[in-house]
Each structure stands twice: as structure tokens, then as C-alpha cells.
């Protein structure tokens, strides 16, 4: 039977129909990405303060190349171009903060291209990549241009150019020549810690100033864009293990503060290990992720040939993230035991 038009509203307005919920909180992917980028501003400014114009150039090349690579790859793959979501910008910025200021400009270029094109878009783009793009970019250039990437310069005195003088990072000095030599350079432990804290030392752009990084991290923690589950276990594990095994005079003689403030640990733990896409998303798995990353960092720092372990530790844990997520799924409400995935 045809429905007779018995009851008719006076005007039938055009109504939007969709499936609920019809309310949404204020967050969006773009807002998160740009806020995280914003939280890196203090660290970026400090790096410019300490390394001058060369730092500006490295940052610029990374940002521009990342954005171009993102747009280019999306154009090639006939996908919508989404530069405004900020993820490519963030990857570029993080990569820049992972490079030494003295890097010739083809290094940030190659790093960004590899990060965005290979590590991100070959795997399906935002949300699908397995490995942290910025760290893949860094590892790629580290292995390709190892000589340059393991030479660092001290902070500058003039703005426009770097001193030609190269220095080793504190961790390299510690490993190669021992704590005594470090103290010789920095005179007292307090002065050493202070320099590490404000950022007056050789190293990658963003790893230098612990204070600036902590400022950004505190902001993100407050906004709940990152949670404690990865960074705190990560840093704590590094502290504890270096204290136990890090010393030359037997167990429990290491210097955890020095280790915790060096080698990009703060940058890596708060800004890179926390990358949602490449880490586990189950909270308990995140804690395991953090602890393992910390243990691997210490293993590489103390036993490996390469003194800065954070990057490799995070990349290694990226391999394990899907496994962790799979193994540590939360228990469904009302279920005695989580069902294993049947596949």
C-alpha cells in the first residue's frame, strides 16, 4: 500500500542524516600533529641559539623536503594531498632535530626523502607505517654517510658559521676515555650536568637542551597528547641499568643522570618512542615497549660499537610493536580471559 501523505510538516528542512554518535570532542589529527610540532619549538630555538645559521638551514631543508616529498608522493599515488594534517611537517622537524648541525645539506635532503617516501608512503602513508619515519631517515643517512654523521661540532660563538673544530659527544668521551676525561673538560659534575641540562654541548640539534625538551614534553603530557606509559619506563630503565652496569668500578657505580640526559634519550623517549603509529596502542604493551627500549639503549651504549643507542633501540622496538599489541590485548569487559586471535 502506498503511504498516503496524511501528516505533513509545514516545511521539510534539509536534514543531515548520519550514523551516530552525533557529537565529537575537539581533537583532530591535524590539531595533535601541530601541537606536538609546537611543543618542539623551545628545543628548536635552543638549537638555533647554540648552532646558529647552519641549524636553521638543516631545519629548513628538512621541513621543505618533507613537505614536498609528501605532496609529491601523494600526487604520484593519486591520493588526496594532506599537508595540512601536519604529520609530514612533524616528521621533517623531528628528523632535523636528530641531525648534527654540521651536516652538509644533502644529508637532510636524503634523510627526508627516505623518511617520507620509503618509510611512510610505501607502507601506505599516515597511520600505516611500521617504522618511525624520522628515525628511518636518520638511520639511513647515518649508515650512508657515517663519517659525517659521527662527527659533531661544539656550539658556536658566532651566529653565521660553525667552528671547524669537531668534538666528541659526552657519551663518546665517556665510552672512549672515561668519566675522568669528561670531568677534566667540564671541571665539576655540577657544571657537566648544568651544561647538559641547558644544552651547551656537542650533539644533534634537538638532543642538546634537556630543559627545552622537558618543557615541550610537560606541555604534551598535560594536554594528554602523550602519556607516561612509554617515556617514563624508557628513561627509568636507562637510569637504573646504567647505574647498575654503567660504571668502571663494578656494579652500582654508573652515572645515571649523565646517561639520562645524553644521547637524545629525552628527545627519543618523549617525542619519538611515543609516536602513536609505530608503537603499541595498548597501554600495558606501551610499558613493556618503554622498558625494552630502555634496556636495548643501555645494551647498545655499553656493549655495542656505537655509543648512541636510542635510535636503534626505538627502531628495534618498532619491529616488535605489532607483536606486543597482539599479545597484550586488554581483557574484554566481562571476559575471564581475552580470547586469542584466531586466524
Amino acid at each position: 500500500m502506498e503511504a498516503p501523505a496524511l501528516v505533513q510538516a509545514k516545511e521539510q528542512p534539509k536534514l543531515i542524516v548520519s550514523i551516530g554518535p552525533h557529537m565529537h570532542d575537539e581533537e583532530s589529527t591535524a590539531k595533535i600533529m601541530w601541537t606536538v610540532s609546537g611543543a618542539l619549538i623551545p628545543a628548536s630555538l635552543m638549537s638555533v641559539y647554540y648552532f646558529g645559521m647552519p641549524a636553521v638551514m638543516v631545519i629548513l631543508v628538512c621541513l621543505v623536503t618533507s613537505l614536498l616529498a609528501e605532496a609529491g608522493m601523494q600526487w604520484l599515488l593519486k591520493k588526496p594531498i594532506t599537508l595540512s594534517d601536519g604529520s609530514a611537517f612533524l616528521t621533517g622537524l623531528l628528523l632535523a632535530l636528530n641531525l648534527p648541525a654540521n651536516a652538509p645539506l644533502y644529508i637532510p635532503f636524503v634523510g627526508s626523502v627516505v623518511a617520507i617516501m620509503i618509510a611512510k608512503h610505501l607502507f601506505g602513508g599516515l597511520g600505516y607505517n611500521i617504522f618511525n619515519p624520522a628515525l628511518v631517515g636518520r638511520a639511513f643517512v647515518l649508515v650512508s654517510f657515517a663519517k659525517i654523521m659521527t662527527t659533531f661540532v661544539a656550539p658556536v660563538t658566532t651566529f653565521m658559521a660553525l667552528d671547524a673544530k669537531t668534538t666528541a659527544t659526552p657519551l663518546v668521551i665517556l665510552k672512549e676515555e672515561g668519566i675522568a676525561r669528561l670531568l677534566e673538560i667540564y671541571h665539576t659534575k655540577a657544571a657537566l650536568y648544568q651544561d647538559l641540562f641547558v644544552g651547551n654541548r656537542a650533539g644533534s640539534l634537538g638532543e642538546t637542551s634537556v630543559a627545552a625538551l622537558l618543557l615541550g614534553a610537560a606541555f604534551l603530557l598535560m594536554k594528554r597528547y602523550i602519556t607516561w606509559h612509554v617515556p617514563i619506563p624508557f628513561i627509568a630503565t636507562v637510569g637504573i641499568l646504567t647505574w647498575i652496569f654503567g660504571g668502571h668500578d663494578g656494579l652500582m657505580t654508573g652515572d645515571p643522570l649523565l646517561h639520562m640526559m645524553s644521547g637524545g634519550l629525552i628527545l627519543g623517549a618523549f617525542f619519538m618512542a611515543t609516536d602513536y603509529v609505530t608503537g603499541p596502542s595498548v597501554r600495558s604493551a606501551q610499558i613493556v615497549f618503554g622498558i625494552c627500549a630502555g634496556a636495548l639503549t643501555v645494551l647498545i651504549r655499553l656493549k655495542g660499537g656505537y655509543p648512541e643507542g636510542v635510535m636503534f633501540a626505538i627502531l628495534l622496538m618498532n619491529c616488535f610493536a605489532p607483536l606486543l599489541d597482539r599479545a597484550m590485548r586488554s581483557r574484554v569487559f566481562g571476559k575471564a580471559e581475552a580470547k586469542g586471535v584466531k586466524k
Binding site: M1, A9, K10, M23, G127, Q286, V332, K343
Partner: protein, 444 residues
């Protein structure tokens, strides 16, 4: 009686805190809506078998006269909500989004009750079976939204004894205040309804769970229950979806309904406060369910209000009575914004489960498209069922329904918390519904 402070442990993990916007209507006393000129009464207003029409076109009916007969156990009869003449039988738009058989009655304006309604002041002396029959004959279904026939819920199998009845006055859904007003205005009736429920089920413990953002309702209900030591008013934490029965049972009885199970598995029956009131009316006055409290709210209507409306009242009429749509009105939702369903026409009628009509203006409607999941884990934190909605979304998006099932698809009760928090705007609820449908199709 009980302290009104909420203990934090009396809740569940997960959940979200959407802006509740209840201030739009919470303080406004309920007004009785006009009798609809033409009441459109769907023959299917509940979960279960639709009823069969027992009237013909042209037939005169009285208010409360049965017009739809049950067809099966899980079913509930439908009654005329106005007195007048049946003018049409056919398929009419329904809030589910499709046309469904309904009876259209043109009101004669007299609003006469059908004769022979039995008033019974001594109702508490009736036997449980007699009471249950009254409830069934009155066509009462869950008024909290799920519209499950109440008498079915009140007939638990023998091996599942019930020892707790909980009235759900949580009303966690944003905007809606119909339960809130009902609790203020009909507190005594609700308490009596609860006592009837307890008698039917032979239970000595009754609770009324109310979110602690409604102190006046808590006070009113506490006062109404003052003389009845077996009834306790229980404030619960303000959090969506605290009103979902599993969450409420956890908070009040401290019991966890097993996954895939029902409240009766842990000895509990949960009923909406409106249902309790309807039960009281049915038992005390013999009146079938023909009207209910409906909140008409949102920034898309000019004067948000609470109504006591007849079943079958078209949305357009209630919205008109609430001052009409504003110029920017863009979305009309049957129910609240979290679980409600958006409507493409205002011709749909109020049914037994319609707790409110929410009209959102354009600027509050999210029309952004969704992006890829960035695995932020917010949905996992938000899910009250402790599922991993991100994986459900990923699997279903690619058509891997079986994998989604392995990720506990079937335990999702579509509360929408995950979609609410998702920064990538991913429509998990939409996908979950789709996957459930596809899997059901495959089974057949």
C-alpha cells in the same frame, strides 16, 4: 538515607565526558503536549516480533484500546493513544529510517479512555503472575531506549534466580532530561513501580541509580523512598555511558555481566525509571502505555522543553510546540546525540522508546570526512567494554569481518565513545553495525 557522595570505584574503566548540555531543559517542568490531530502508531515499537493490526480503516477507537495484537512471546501489544477514527493502515516512516506498518488515528478531540479499565489500589496484594500479566497487557517495553518487552525480562528462567532490581535513572546521554524530570515529578510512582518489580521477581533489594549531576533528582527520589528500607537511591559517577546496564550493574551491584551474557546471568534486572512509572500506571490504574516523557532540545529548536507526549505524535508537532526549528537547524536526532538516530524527515512519530528529540544546528554538526587511524589509542582508553575499536575499524574498513569478530566485535554495544574521541573522526559505530549485519547475512 544513603550518603550522596560518589565513590570513585563505583564505576567502570573507560568512558567519555561529552558536554552534557542538560541545562537547556533540566529546570523546565514538563508540559503536556497537545493531542496530535493524527497519531501515527507503528505496529512495531519494540525488539521482537511486530504486532498484527486488529483494526480496520474507519473503525472508531478509544484511547487505550488495543490496536496491535502480539505475535509471539517476545512482543508487546500496541494501544491507541488518542480516541478517534482509524484513517489509514500502511507503511509510514519510522525512526529506524525505513517505512514500517502503522495505524493512523484521527483524533476526535474527546480523548476518552476505553471503558473497563480496572483501578486497583490494593495492587501489592496481587500475585506475581497476575502482575506480570497486567504489565504484558499494558504493552510495556523498556523505555530506556532498547524497547525490550518488559514482561519477557520479568520472566527469567528458573536456573537464573534474580536477587537485585536496579532502576536506571542515570540518563548519561547528553542533552536529554526526560528521566530527570520524571524523577522529580513522579518520584512516588517510580518507587511504587520498583516495588512492583521487586514483588514480581521476589527480590528484596532494589536500587535506583542516578548520576550525581542530578542532586535534585537524588533528593526527590530519596524522599520518595523514605518509608521503604528495601529501596536504596544510589548516586553514580558522571560519565558516559554510565547508564548502560552492564556499567550500572558494575557500579551499583559490583557484579560484572559476562561478555555475551545478560544481566540475569548475575541475578540482576535493570529497568529504566520511565518503565517503572509505566508499570505503576498499568498495575494501579490498568492503563496501557500510551504516553511518555520526551525532551525536545538542542540549539536547533527555539524553546527547548520537556513534554508529556502521546505515542504517535509526529516529531514535527513537538518541534512546533517547542518554538520550531531555528534557521540553522541541520540535524534532527531521535534520542540523544550519542546513541540516537538522525532522521531524514520530521514525519516520524514518537514511539515507546523515544526519550527525546535533539536538534543540532549546523555548526555543531560534524561533517568532516574521516582519515586514517593514527593508532593514538584514545578509543581503546574510552571503550567501556575494553575492546580495541581501532582494530575493529581497520578490519571492517577492509572487509575482514571475521578478523573483527576475533577482536570481539560482538561485545560492542555501539555506545559511540570510541568515535566520539577519535581524532581521525573514524566512524567505528557505523562500521560495527555494518559488520554485524554482514556476519548475520553470512550465517543465514
Amino acid at each position: 538515607m544513603e550518603a550522596t557522595t560518589v565513590k570513585a570505584k563505583d564505576t567502570f574503566s573507560g568512558g567519555v565526558h561529552p558536554a552534557d548540555n542538560k541545562q537547556l531543559t533540566a529546570h523546565k517542568p514538563t508540559v503536556t503536549a497537545a493531542i496530535p490531530k493524527r497519531a501515527i502508531i507503528p505496529l512495531s515499537q519494540h525488539i521482537g516480533a511486530p504486532t498484527k493490526s486488529i483494526v480496520v480503516i474507519g473503525q472508531e477507537v478509544k484511547k487505550g484500546e488495543k490496536i496491535g495484537e502480539t505475535a509471539g512471546f517476545v512482543s508487546a501489544p500496541v494501544h491507541a493513544s488518542v480516541s478517534g477514527k482509524v484513517v489509514a493502515l500502511g507503511n509510514f516512516p519510522h525512526i529506524l529510517g525505513m517505512d514500517i506498518p502503522a495505524v493512523v488515528i484521527e483524533s476526535d478531540g474527546k480523548d476518552e479512555w476505553i471503558g473497563g479499565l480496572k483501578e486497583n489500589p490494593g495492587y501489592l496484594t496481587l500475585s506475581p503472575d497476575e502482575l506480570k500479566k497486567l504489565v504484558a497487557d499494558a504493552g510495556i517495553v523498556g523505555m530506556g531506549g532498547a524497547t525490550f518487552p518488559t514482561h519477557v525480562k520479568l520472566s527469567p528462567p528458573k536456573e537464573k534466580p534474580i536477587d537485585v532490581v536496579i532502576l536506571n535513572g542515570a540518563e548519561c546521554e547528553p542533552y536529554l532530561t526526560s528521566d530527570h524530570r520524571l524523577m522529580l515529578e513522579k518520584s512516588k510512582e517510580i518507587v511504587e513501580g520498583l516495588k512492583i518489580l521487586m514483588r514480581i521477581l521476589n527480590v528484596s533489594k532494589g536500587y535506583i541509580g542516578i548520576e550525581s549531576n542530578k542532586p535534585d533528582a537524588i533528593e526527590a527520589m530519596t524522599k520518595a523512598a523514605a518509608g521503604s528500607p528495601e529501596v536504596k537511591v544510589w548516586p553514580v559517577k558522571v560519565k558516559y555511558p554510565q547508564g548502560a546496564e552492564k556499567m550500572l550493574i558494575k557500579a551499583i551491584a559490583g557484579r560484572t555481566v559476562p561478555a555475551g551474557g545478560l544481566p540475569m546471568d548475575v541475578g540482576v534486572v535493570v529497568q529504566n525509571v520511565g518503565t517503572a512509572e509505566a508499570i505503576y500506571n498499568a498495575v494501579r490504574y490498568g492503563r496501557p502505555l500510551v504516553e511518555r516523557y520526551v525532551t525536545v532540545t538542542g540549539r536547533g529548536v527555539r524553546e527547548p522543553k520537556n513534554f508529556l507526549a502521546r505515542i504517535g505524535t509526529p516529531f514535527s508537532q513537538l518541534i512546533e510546540e517547542a518554538g520550531g526549528l531555528t534557521d540553522t537547524a541541520a540535524k534532527v536526532i531521535s534520542g540523544g546525540p550519542m546513541m540516537g538516530m538522525s532522521q531524514y524527515t520530521l514525519d516520524v512519530p514518537v514511539i515507546k522508546g523515544t526519550s527525546g528529540i535533539t536538534v543540532l544546528p549546523k555548526n555543531e554538526v560534524n561533517t568532516n570526512s574521516y582519515g586514517p587511524c593514527i593508532r593514538c589509542g584514545r578509543c581503546i582508553d574510552a571503550c567501556p567494554m575494553k575492546l580495541q575499536p581501532s582494530y575493529l575499524g581497520l578490519y571492517i574498513e577492509k572487509g575482514h569481518y571475521e578478523d573483527a569478530k576475533a577482536y570481539n566485535l560482538m561485545d560492542c554495544f555501539e555506545c559511540g565513545s570510541c568515535t566520539f574521541v577519535c581524532p581521525a573522526n573514524r566512524p567505528m559505530v557505523h562500521w560495527v553495525k555494518k559488520a554485524k549485519k554482514e556476519l548475520a547475512k553470512k550465517k543465514n
